[in-house]
């Protein structure tokens, strides 16, 4: 099974600073890490490889520093890693990002399965996975929480909000997985040390030019633009806070609930 796992390097969200006054997001204050959702995709890929044999390729688009996220992926069981790094890729929205990743996947050669995380913690769109599938002309299943290869087919369970669908697909196919799919393993010290020595391939726009239209990369290929960023201040409600008077508060709340009809069960 030839498996591709697209990953993204993101800031550690607990460290990102938000300046309400200036409307600025301080990414530099935060260390960078592999998008937490992608760890589940990587683990799912490595588990299939362990069972069926094959290869796992991690692929990412980003600045040169994103190489460290790919080394993390190698430490966690990926066999090879490709970083798409070029000024021409910068400023990409989901359409240009998915186009660039899909072009690289195509250039890489034949594959059977692409596994993506559900979304990233910074952009939070969840669009890049399904968009890659459309660029490649293959089907996809999103929000997968269970997967298994059975007799040459991929059988998955996906969360359709209130219902689970059991879906069967041939190969090649792309899936996006949720955090319910597995528990990602932690790399050992030796894995990490081996990953430091491993090779991360670097590809720029030129490497993709034989199969892709360079006008569709980066900011040029991105139809959406952020015009304004607002960091909201908590507006607050004119509520009452009861400090040492819980009993009084409960009495008031019970009366209010009664008035709204909640207590009589009119709901």
């Amino acid at each position: 099974m030839r498996i591709i796992v697209p990953i993204k390097q993101v800031p550690d969200m607990s460290q990102v600073k938000f300046d309400t006054e200036k409307g600025v997001v301080g990414r530099t204050s935060a260390g960078a890490e592999i998008n937490p959702f992608d760890l589940y995709a990587l683990e799912a890929a490595v588990q299939i490889k362990d069972k069926l044999g094959g290869t796992v390729t991690a692929i990412s688009m980003g600045p040169r520093q994103a190489e460290s996220a790919l080394r993390d992926a190698l430490a966690r069981g990926a066999d090879s890693a490709v970083l798409l790094v070029d000024k021409a890729f910068a400023g990409a929205d989901t359409l240009a990002t998915s186009y660039t990743l899909a072009s690289a996947i195509r250039k890489r050669g034949e594959f059977d399965l692409i596994i993506c995380g559900e979304k990233t913690v910074d952009g939070d769109t969840g669009q890049v996975g399904p968009e890659i599938a459309e660029h490649l002309g293959i089907p996809h299943v999103a929000y997968v929480l269970k997967l298994e290869e059975v007799g040459g087919k991929l059988v998955v369970v996906c969360d359709m909000e209130g219902e689970y669908y059991l879906v069967e697909s041939g190969f090649p196919v792309l899936i996006t997985v949720t955090k319910d799919v597995n528990t990602p393993r932690l790399p050992t010290f030796r894995d990490k040390s081996n990953a430091r020595k491993a090779k991360v391939e670097l590809w720029g726009a030129e490497e993709l030019s034989s199969i892709a239209d360079k006008g569709r990369f980066g900011v040029r290929g991105s139809p959406t633009r952020v015009h304004k960023v607002i960091i909201p201040t908590e507006e607050g409600r004119k509520g009452r806070v009861f400090r040492n008077t819980a009993d009084e508060a409960i009495e008031e709340i019970v009366d209010a609930l009664d008035e709204w009809g909640t207590i009589k069960g009119i709901k």
């Binding site: 459309e134 960023v229 409600r237 400090r243």
Partner: protein, 326 residues
């Protein structure tokens, strides 16, 4: 770009019923269409959906493009995409909206790429600028910022979060046109073998939600909250850390990366109120917060805040309600 006009809303149906987010989108779509003096259409794919197509008109659509075929009974990704893309190329709406449900967020990106246009994910606000272009407002960075986004290609596409827009309500006096379209079928490539109810209350639909956070000492203590929830006919919710620690299933998670809820009553027990949690419940009608830390941010959004131990306050509240009832 000049040939594109009006708005089109994807009407999502599950088991033959239109998802309420579609009515909300028609509400917002109607407002924008009236402002621009443009038309509002909707596209519905399903099996024997004539009745529901009329509902879309009652909720604000001028035209409904109806694809009635057994293939569309359930979500058939590639056939949905193929027929919608074909329709959009023919009708040329300036704006195309979908609900940011799992179905919408799976389908939307495929349509956007096929049309080589931009798609803005999970919007919580929509407006138009002085030129009539769509302003798409969406949270990012786990709800810490709101970005205003515009799209230079057409159609301008967005998925919009459930329960943030207002439906205009059902008006059976409204007139509109139902246009039946011929389905063009392509290989599905995916087979839905089985569907199973996940057996859980859909927390986004609940009128009363009792949520627990890190103030709970162990997973078993959720029973205190479920007692209160049962009493009020509500559902149990949770903040993200408890879900990540697997104390309770993900379907209970309230917050930016979980469910956005808008119940009549939201009771936050032992929840400090991170921005990521507040983003998922701040629009609740009434918010009651119980927390032992008086400086917890949850109190800023609460209508009633009780500084105290949830292990004392919640049982007292339960007793108070029981007393009132008898």
């Amino acid at each position: 770009m000049k040939n594109y006009t009006g708005l089109m809303v994807f009407a999502e149906q599950r088991e033959g019923r239109v998802h309420p987010v579609s009515y909300e989108l028609l509400g917002k779509g109607r407002e924008i269409a009236d402002k621009l003096g443009a038309g509002l259409s909707s596209v519905l794919l399903g099996n024997q959906m004539g009745e529901e197509a009329r509902e879309l008109i009652y909720y604000g659509a001028d035209k409904v493009f109806l694809y009635d075929h057994p293939t569309f009974k359930d979500f058939d990704l590639l056939n949905y995409k193929h027929n919608i893309v074909k329709l959009v190329r023919e009708v040329k709406p300036e704006t195309f909206l979908l609900g940011a449900t799992h179905l919408g967020r799976s389908l939307g990106p495929r349509i956007a790429v096929a049309l080589a246009t931009g798609l803005t994910a999970d919007c919580t606000g929509l407006g138009v600028d002085e030129k009539g272009s769509l302003i798409q407002i969406r949270p990012a960075f786990s709800g810490n910022i709101f970005a205003h986004i515009k799209t230079k290609t057409r159609p301008q596409m967005a998925t919009v979060r459930y329960k943030v827009m207002q439906s205009k309500g059902r008006d059976v006096g409204r007139r509109g046109e139902i246009i039946r379209k011929e389905a063009e079928l392509v290989p599905s490539l995916l087979t839905i073998v089985k569907k199973e109810k996940s057996g859980e209350v859909n927390i986004a639909e609940a009128d009363v939600i009792i949520s627990g956070g890190r103030g709970l000492k162990k997973a078993e203590d959720f029973c205190i909250l479920s007692d209160l929830a049962e009493l009020l006919g509500g559902a149990v919710g949770a903040s993200r850390p408890l879900v990540d620690d697997r104390w309770i299933g993900r379907e209970h998670q309230v917050g930016f990366s979980g469910n956005t809820v808008k119940p009549k009553i939201y009771v936050a027990c032992g929840i400090s109120g991170s921005s990521q949690h507040l983003a998922g419940m701040r629009t609740s009608d009434v918010i009651i917060a119980i927390n032992s830390d008086p400086s917890a941010p949850i109190f800023k959004v609460a209508d009633y805040g009780i500084v105290g131990d949830l292990y004392e306050v919640v049982p007292k509240l339960i007793n108070g309600i029981k007393r009132k009832r008898s």
